[in-house]
Symmetry: D2
Subunit: 351 residues, 4 copies
């Protein structure tokens, strides 16, 4: 009953196989190899657009590199207060970005609204050179609440951002899950909606460690190669990270892996609802949040279930946990088994 994170799973067979296959013979290092060229090509096809792609091993680095490149040190990145860049990256964006500032904003179910964005832009514009001005909007897709932005929602936010000179970044650590669920095209969810750059993650989706910083206007990436290198993120045996991406985007691999994770979350949500613990937010991808009694939590843990307790600040005032409750986050993945879900739900149901 492993629901701690999608990164507790190992490597999906397709991607492990790709690593093994890439291990044939010699290849120049640092991305000067055929596998890398093919992976870049796959990304361009996937997004149906010219791209400049930078493969690296972690999502934190992907976000930090993208933000540092989009936002000057004296600029501000507008983002959700519960976003990973705010809560879980130990200041990586500030470090990579020479002391840029993250501006945490509120938003229901992990999502920013146009009104909130407009107010924030108004607040963080002008008064130069005294105030860090808003320079980037960063959205998370799948959000930290397990919800999704639709194309039209992204477009509405991006329009406001662009109208004020901000660039738009997406933290897509679980982008495949979003895509699978929304049944729309990668293009629709990114550049067609106004996204300038995405941190596109394969790790949570099944890779060993493979993320791509993708820009849709390649000329914007001048010197991003230098940023990656001096951050120690240009892998010498680069073909192996590229190979994971190539496999991920070959055929329907990414979709199959994401579909399974999403389906497992739905199964979990159904079970919890039936047991009287309906998720606090719509379950739109592979994350399920529920308020559970502390006694039940103890029982689940005793039975071997793993998952994390989340800060209840995340919940609006009207949804705060009672004294004997806690907000738990359950994450499924390509590797989650039906039996895990069923055993968990059985434990829950047996109140």
């Amino acid at each position: 009953m492993n629901f701690a994170s999608d990164n507790t799973a190992g490597i999906a067979p397709e991607m492990l196989q790709a690593i093994i296959q890439a291990n044939e013979g010699f290849a120049l290092g640092y991305g000067n190899d055929a596998v890398t060229r093919r992976a870049e090509q796959r990304l361009a096809e996937f997004f149906d657009h010219e791209v400049a792609a930078f493969f690296i091993p972690t999502g934190t680095a992907a976000n930090a590199l993208a933000l540092a490149h989009l936002c000057p040190p004296w600029g501000a990145v507008l983002c959700h207060a519960e976003s990973h860049i705010v809560t879980d990256e130990c200041g990586a964006p500030e470090f990579f970005g020479g002391g840029l500032r993250l501006v945490p904003l509120p938003g229901e179910a992990g999502k920013l609204s146009v009104a909130t964005l407009e107010a924030a832009i108004k607040r963080y514009s002008g008064h130069r050179p005294h105030q860090s001005n808003a320079a980037v909007l960063s959205l998370t897709q799948v959000t930290e609440a397990g919800t999704l932005y639709r194309s039209a929602e992204i477009a509405a936010l991006a329009d406001v951002a662009h109208a004020h000179g901000l660039k738009v970044h997406v933290d897509g650590a679980r982008f495949a899950n979003a895509l699978e669920r929304l049944n729309t095209s990668p293009a629709d969810l990114t550049w067609k909606a106004g996204v300038d750059a995405i941190s596109f993650g394969a790790t949570k989706a099944g890779a060993m460690g493979a993320e791509a910083v993708v820009f849709f206007e390649p000329p914007m990436t001048e010197f991003l190669g230098e940023r990656r290198k001096r951050a120690g993120h240009l892998l010498s045996k680069h073909r192996f990270v590229a190979a994971q991406f190539e496999a991920f985007l070959t055929g329907d691999t990414w979709r199959r892996l994401a579909r399974h994770g999403n389906a497992m979350a739905e199964r979990l949500a159904r079970g919890l609802t039936a047991a009287g613990y309906a998720p606090v937010w719509p379950v739109e991808a592979n994350l399920v949040f529920a308020l559970l009694p502390k006694a039940l939590d103890a029982r689940l843990k005793a039975a071997g279930a793993t998952y994390y307790i989340r800060n209840s600040d995340f919940l609006p005032a009207g949804m705060q946990p009672a004294d004997d409750q806690m907000l738990v986050r359950l994450v499924t993945s390509f590797a989650t088994m039906d039996a895990e879900i069923d055993r968990f739900i059985a434990l829950v149901a047996n109140k």
Copy 2:
């Protein structure tokens, strides 16, 4: 005839197998797993000393993390002018170190002498707060010239460094090659000789991407975990980088892999010498430098040989290449085949 770098080789079978094996079941992310505990234990046994180890995917990051931790932003790192941190990391030490300074020093055959070190410490001490003061000595083992520091040489340098309050770091991207050749113990070449921290590389030795920042006084590493995280170098599926290290240090894997690379370099050196192109520096590990005629270089390249031309600044005044010569660097690895060497030498010999 792949002599461009030891990172053009793929993954050694032992380490690939370790990755495959680590892919069983679920494990908590970020190093909270059993494989990581075992790899740490292996490192402690290897060095015969308590260690604090931080596994990461690249050598540039290993150096930059170690130096940033050992040297304050207003400090200076004394190092060889041709060291990798100076010539090949795009300012990573300065970036991680908040603007610290590298002081490039001369030295024959890639090695720093005690006299050079003493003069540099004298020069970069005092005159506070106007001058960046020397805070760290960084040595490269195997040096960029393919030569080695013996334990006694390291101890002599470290004694001077410590006497003036400097810490001692080793860039050990090819440490296994040094160790194999010197037939001494890891302890003798590090902490017993006064080394405070080493960037210990497995990648060039056969890993897919696995380096360890190792400190011999664990209390010195407070907040190094934060440094790693905010640099985006804490892998979520951490078990896979740890597994590579575990395999590397199990039995005589590291020694066998290094021995092959070293032996191939010797074979190459013998052939070059016989053909009248004796290496410019002692061949003590898996790097061979020779002055070759440009015509020969063209012929070798045409035949498919890959290798890099090195800046001749590296050579002392008396050894500068003639107009029709160039300094070439040939690197062997665990994956180099006898046949490659023999074919290369045949081409060379056929002047």
Copy 3:
């Protein structure tokens, strides 16, 4: 009718005289002079405590140097959402602090409460190394709302901070105004209440440009001299900044200058209240905030009054300006004249 800021005033005669006097003969640069020694001595007497003091020309630099020294790059500084370090320093703390994070907190009338602090510490502790942990509490005295922290309030906050390992910093750009009004001792308002370091400003109080970063535990300031130097804030003709401080702290200069500014603010507040525009917050120093009709604002501006409009986010929900109102900030100083106040009030009263 100059109410834009206390920095629109010039240099108080006592401090200008000190500059002129310090211009006798030659003196070693960079603080190695007799005037600097005397100013340091004055500061120690003023605070009735051993101090380490660093004189610099701006308050932004004073805050940034102090915070960078107290907070590691991976740490967080807890502070009021409207504090100068958040709103008016263009990311100086982040820049000096290698990418540290400011955590803006709410608080009535510019002040942080113990409950808010406790909740923030709880939120920003643990989850290492993923989360930037709270490392410093920064208070502003006089607050940006023109209110004051009493000694006991500071002590209560500092106790909580220290109990969790945080250091306590005070942005004292208007510290003299606070001191004069509270009629307490500098010691009571700082180290006796648990303050570790204060940015003590003389500029707004009448200097040309003179601030002191003061630490009460001198051993804590190791390498702060290097921080100042590499930030370009070690003045070569240092005696002139020190001379301003010496004059400021000689006799009752600081108190007289502050008293005048405070008295002028009171006069302004009385007039506004009488005219039906009672200040929105207690007027405890030299800042007055009031909600004025836009028509009145236009009339005052037309008559030559200068002042700034403040972001109404600063006001609680229940105090938001009506559509035809705006929140204005009026600042008085040592140089404000009775006649300015009276003319302003006459304009206001003539509704």
Copy 4:
């Protein structure tokens, strides 16, 4: 006998008077005042060119701001090994520049040659993204050896620099001394010779603390205001730093002050030469370097003379001091008195 530095002098009467005069009435802070506008206008007239100017209190900050603006974090600044930015700024350029690199180059009498520059550019170009590429050439005028670059020399260096995409910066802490001596125009020594930006100093020339970062292509300075602000170098009572510059550039003030310092250095040089201690480098401005016997040094110090001993690395191999000698640096200024020189020379002559 004050020859320690030109910053041991106080404030020249013209500039002190300007401060006093600027102290009339109120003025908006942060440079939004009439004095600042006039000082900017004076600078444009002085250089006979449109300029963007940023007034700040120290030369270290002027250099660091200019270099950080001209050079990306992954770039390198080519400069003389004995330049102030290398030896005396505690890493300020690296700090402001996000970890940029200074490349110290050799050069006779403090000057870089075209050949040295060409070789350095060749060495520090290409091999991207592994190597920090040369991005800026920084020259010091007056050099640290007290010598001068002629317009034609600057133009020759700048042509090489520009041809390879480098920008050209001048550290002009003693620019007035150079200008006075060369009897050429400010335009000839800067933009007409290819200089992109100059740190133009008034402090050593007689100001209390006033330097200007001057760019000749104003559009290049976008966001330099933000850099200055977040470095804490935007003075609130800005009119006082601007007033110093206005006075400096009004009439022939700068020339008179510089002429005196230069003449005093010549007088000193003549006396030393007559006594058998001819300066080691041409005395072209207000710096005199000589090799003095240690016994004489002791005698001079005992008699109250102040000056600094310089690192003899500065001297070429053939000019190294004998065991009983030391390299001393003597600096004159607008405030040096004939009598000081004469007394010093009398002591020297009395061997």
